[in-house]
Amino acid sequence: MSETRRITLIVNGEHREAETPVRQHLADFLRGTLGLTGTHVGCEHGVCGACTVLVDGHAVRACLMLAVQAAGHEVTTVEGLSLADGTLHPLQQAFCDHHGLQCGFCTPGMLTTLVEFLAEHPAPSEEEVRLAISGNICRCTGYDSIVAAALAAARALRGDAA
């Protein structure tokens, strides 16, 4: 049995405390220990981006970070993107409106990646959006609809009409 450690961290605004094996990566911790299965694991070698979560607001590959490294930090997963009353985040809404997902497996990683990106680039060009998600693999959509959704969400977040 491998060594474990007790960690405390903030996940989606809530204070969490749990025991984790020291070798367990953050994605498995979120999914297995905390039951937040919205974060997906597509490769476990840092290439596909499906496991992307926000750690202190920055997009991080949860398969490349150990759970113990997240101790004391603030983690946001896809489950934490909508408002408390259930209203979808403008990105989530735009993904629905623009068919930005098919199977939905890449979607949590796409959303979290774009949350950080749009926070830093409120009025991106199409090219910039493509670059921003170029580290996230989607096998279903061909990406155009994801790009369209991101641009629509950027407009909504800026408060522009449609």
């Binding site: 049995m1 491998s2 094996p21 070798r23 367990q24 999914r31 937040l36 299965t37 919205g38 974060t39 997906h40 694991v41 597509g42 490769c43 476990e44 070698h45 290439v47 596909c48 499906a50 997963t77 896809v78 489950e79 993107l81 909508s82 979808l88 989530q92 993904f95 629905c96 409106d97 068919h99 997902l101 098919q102 199977c103 939905g104 497996f105 890449c106 979607t107 949590p108 959303l111 959006v129 493509r130 670059l131 998600i133 170029s134 580290g135 996230n136 693999i137 989607c138 096998r139 279903c140 959509t141 061909g142 990406y143 155009d144 609809s145 994801i146 790009v147």
Partner: protein, 782 residues
């Protein structure tokens, strides 16, 4: 047309969009998925579950001398370790039968017995309290293999598979007409040697199997299923010696299928057998390396093809010999991909004589089966390369050459004396020439030729190419749908179909809404569950919209008729003057009274209602749609590419997919299918390939080696959805849209690269890698 059932509920839907059908509505599937509340295989957990890890062959070919699990079994937390001796009574993984005989000895055992035949082949299975531990224990299993030479070239002479069996289980032969006479009288004979690389669907979600045995009900459940639940259920039951009704499969969310996901694999059987024997739920989740090594590969073929043509470039005959690299074993598809390749190769062209021999060859690679547009991605590349070569030889414009050979609308339905998957090929409808014109127009072909000339003059290496394709869809023979309105008025649709992430729920709900007269968004769609419907043929071969869509249409029509008949006497009106709008039965003329809701009607039809005495209660109908013939969508792909002379990299700048699919139930979803399919075709054309070293060690085992297109590789993509040739074979006129985006990508990009290089026929292999392009550029350099 024959091939469908006829009856009052067969009423065809009029052309054009309706209230729900033909509308780009948002998907029912999306809300839980964007919230991270989906249920993918890895999200399924049961109390007391243990985790399975598979020990796999690290050599491509060898004699399995020994497997020593002593150390692994001794590790605390390990529940069991199985080798082939522990599963000796489980037969090999079966295949879905076709006419081809004699494949049984080539099927894969659940765990390797005395030989290993590919890197990744399951040798042992470890069961432990957690997934990390199972992996630790798997590392402790000592495997002794005596290496044998690996067979890696399917076109080389066959070798020995096992005593008395060689590596060519079968040759698929098809043909018609007098091929030899045609070649003897030909104006010209054009010969090519063309290859397509080894690719796979590589869904972003890896496979998973979670099995549990419910002793209280004597029920074996398998979760994480996909695509072919009912066939898989029946086979799992047979292989484990249980009645099918004691085994149930459950499909949750599926992170992409593309042909490979949802087939029956050794791991599914291992998980089920372990759940029964170890009396604990068993969870297995594939990792990405395993996904590259153990999930079906596809496509690798080499064709030696010849065409006989007359002086005007009209095809007189095609003679093709090809070698299909099946990998180490026959899998669930048997020889179907070879059959599809052989049967679909002629595509859209009039062809008086044809002969094909598809050599189905085993090698020491991961076994193969279907991947989106199976047999068509390959043969469209081959056929369209051939058309380009004919055009070059006879100095005819390649577009004009195609025009001369396209089957004309007046010739439809066009029977070809060939069969595919046991069904006769009859091109059911189409206006090929019209779509070609529309595509050229939309792509701005004329202006493009001028701009290409200008760019070349300024030193750029640019070119354009196009390819025509015919797809197939709606594979029968049947699929059923049951629609029930409950006493609250909620509509439930239970289908034998499956979904691998395409949006099946939404599409079926739209069709149901259209026929029944309710809103689509409240319809609850149930699929992928063997415990809710007795039969089903699953989601593959672009069949769901055609087959289950048609069954939905018929079932909803039947429920509608039932509702009107029940309501009419109560409203004291004749059923003919009534209609259903938003779930309310009312007069067709728009008067809102008298009226009755579907909920009220359902209550009237309940089991305790005196009116139902002696009849089967419920506002419900189940309908089965039957089809003997497939329906054939078609299309044109156009590509504009620019080559970097310094690196040999091919950049696709612009691309058009024009696809006639008869009727688009949801144009937004169709575009999504085409765009996603195109991206996969692009991967196969320029980036993706499973490569092996000379000993059979796979070199593409991570996403860093097997390159899937990302957002920055996508060109400006235009999609033209045409509905000019609805299928006469089903009430909605639908043809499948799942594979047209993929089919001709390799062919069109190859033509464009030839054009950019100014070297007709230069591209003979997919993917077109930068190294090859550099060599071709050097060859051209003065």
């Amino acid at each position: 047309m024959d091939g469908t059932t006829h009856g009052p509920d067969d009423a065809r839907m009029a052309a054009g969009p309706g209230e729900a059908v033909g509308r780009a509505v948002t998907r029912l599937e999306d809300p839980p998925l964007v919230r991270g509340r989906g249920l993918f295989a890895a999200d399924v957990n049961f109390p007391r579950q243990i985790h399975m890890r598979v020990v796999r062959a690290e050599l491509a070919h060898g004699l399995l001398r020994s497997v020593d699990a002593t150390a692994a079994r001794a590790l605390p937390g390990v529940v069991a370790v199985w080798t082939s001796a522990d599963v000796a009574e489980i037969p090999s993984i079966p295949f879905r039968a076709t006419k081809v005989q004699g494949l049984e000895p080539y099927c894969q055992p659940v765990l390797a017995r005395d030989r290993v035949r590919y890197v990744g082949e399951p040798i042992a299975a470890v069961f432990a309290e957690d997934a990390y531990l199972a992996e630790d224990a798997a590392d402790l299993v000592a495997v002794d293999i005596e290496p044998l030479p690996a067979v890696l070239d399917a076109a080389a002479p066959p070798a020995e598979f096992a005593p008395g069996l060689h590596t060519e289980p079968t040759i698929v032969r098809k043909g018609f007409g007098d091929v030899d006479a045609a070649f003897a009288m030909a104006h010209a004979v054009i010969e090519l040697d063309l290859s397509v690389g080894r690719h796979s669907g590589v869904p972003l979600e890896t496979r998973g199997a979670i099995a549990r045995y419910d002793a209280a009900r004597d029920l074996l459940e398998l979760h994480g299923a996909a695509k072919k639940q009912h066939w898989n259920r029946d086979e799992i039951a047979r292989l484990l010696g249980r009645p099918p009704s004691s085994v149930h499969l459950f499909e949750g969310h599926v992170g992409g299928g593309f042909g490979v996901r949802g087939e029956l694999y050794p791991e599914d059987l291992l998980a089920c057998a372990a759940a029964l024997r170890l009396d604990r739920p068993v969870k297995w989740i594939e990792d990405r390396r395993e996904n590259f090594l153990a999930t079906n590969h596809s496509r690798q073929q080499r064709h030696r093809i010849r065409a006989a043509v007359d002086a005007e470039g009209r095809l007189l005959a095609i003679d093709d010999v090809f070698f299909h690299d099946q990998g180490a074993y026959v899998r669930t598809h048997g020889a179907r991909v070879v059959d599809l390749a052989a049967g679909m190769l002629p595509g859209p062209y009039r062809l008086p004589a044809y002969r094909v021999a598809g050599h189905f060859r085993l090698t020491n690679k991961t076994p193969a089966a279907t991947y989106r547009a199976p047999g068509r991605y390959e043969t469209t590349f081959v056929r369209e390369r051939l058309m380009d070569a004919i055009a070059t030889r006879l100095a005819i414009d390649p577009i004009e050459l195609r025009r001369r050979n396209l089957v004309a609308t007046a010739e439809m339905p066009y029977p070809r004396p060939l069969d595919v998957l046991g069904s006769d090929v009859v091109l059911d409808s189409g206006d090929y020439a019209k779509l070609l014109d529309q595509a050229l127009d939309r792509f701005g072909w004329k202006a493009l030729r001028e701009s290409i000339a200008a760019r070349r003059a300024s030193g750029e290496c640019v070119g354009a190419g196009l390819a025509f394709f015919v797809e197939k869809s709606g594979l029968g023979p049947s699929d059923g749908v049951r629609i029930t309105v409950d006493h609250t008025g909620t509509v439930e649709l239970v289908s034998g179909a499956a979904s691998v992430g395409q949006g099946v729920d939404t599409v079926l709900a739209q069709i149901c809404a259209e026929a029944l007269g309710v809103g689509y968004s409240g319809i609850r769609v149930v699929r992928g569950r063997t415990d809710r419907i007795e039969f089903g043929n699953g989601a593959h071969a672009s069949r769901v919209t055609v087959m289950s869509g048609s069954a939905t249409w018929q079932a909803a029509q039947a429920v509608r008729a039932m509702a009107l008949e029940t309501a009419a006497p109560l409203l004291q009106l004749s059923p003919e003057v009534l209609t259903i709008r938003d779930g309310i039965v009312q007069r067709k003329d728009g008067a809102t009274e008298p009226s009755m809701t579907l909920a009220e009607i359902a209550r009237q039809m309940g089991p305790n209602s005196p009116a139902m005495r002696g009849r089967t209660p419920g506002l419900t109908a189940e309908k089965w749609f039957w089809s003997d013939h497939m329906t054939y969508p078609y299309g044109v792909h156009c590509a504009l590419v620019c080559i970097d002379r310094g690196t040999g990299a091919v950049k696709v700048e612009r691309y058009l997919v024009a696809n006639d699919i008869g009727r688009a139930i949801n144009p937004m979803l169709v575009e999504g299918q085409i765009a996603g399919g195109f991206a996969q075709g692009l991967g196969g054309a320029l980036y993706e390939e499973f490569r092996y070293d000379e000993t059979g060690q796979p070199l593409s085992t991570t996403f860093a080696d097997y390159l899937i297109p990302t957002a920055t590789e996508m060109p400006a993509l235009d999609v033209l959805i045409a509905e000019d040739a609805p299928s006469p074979l089903n009430p909605l006129g639908i043809k499948g849209a799942g594979e047209g985006g993929t089919n001709a990508v390799g062919a069109a990009i190859a033509a464009a690269v030839d054009d950019a290089l100014g070297q007709p026929g230069a591209v003979t292999t997919l993917p077109i890698l930068p190294g090859t392009v550099m060599r071709l550029l050097d060859r051209a350099a003065p």
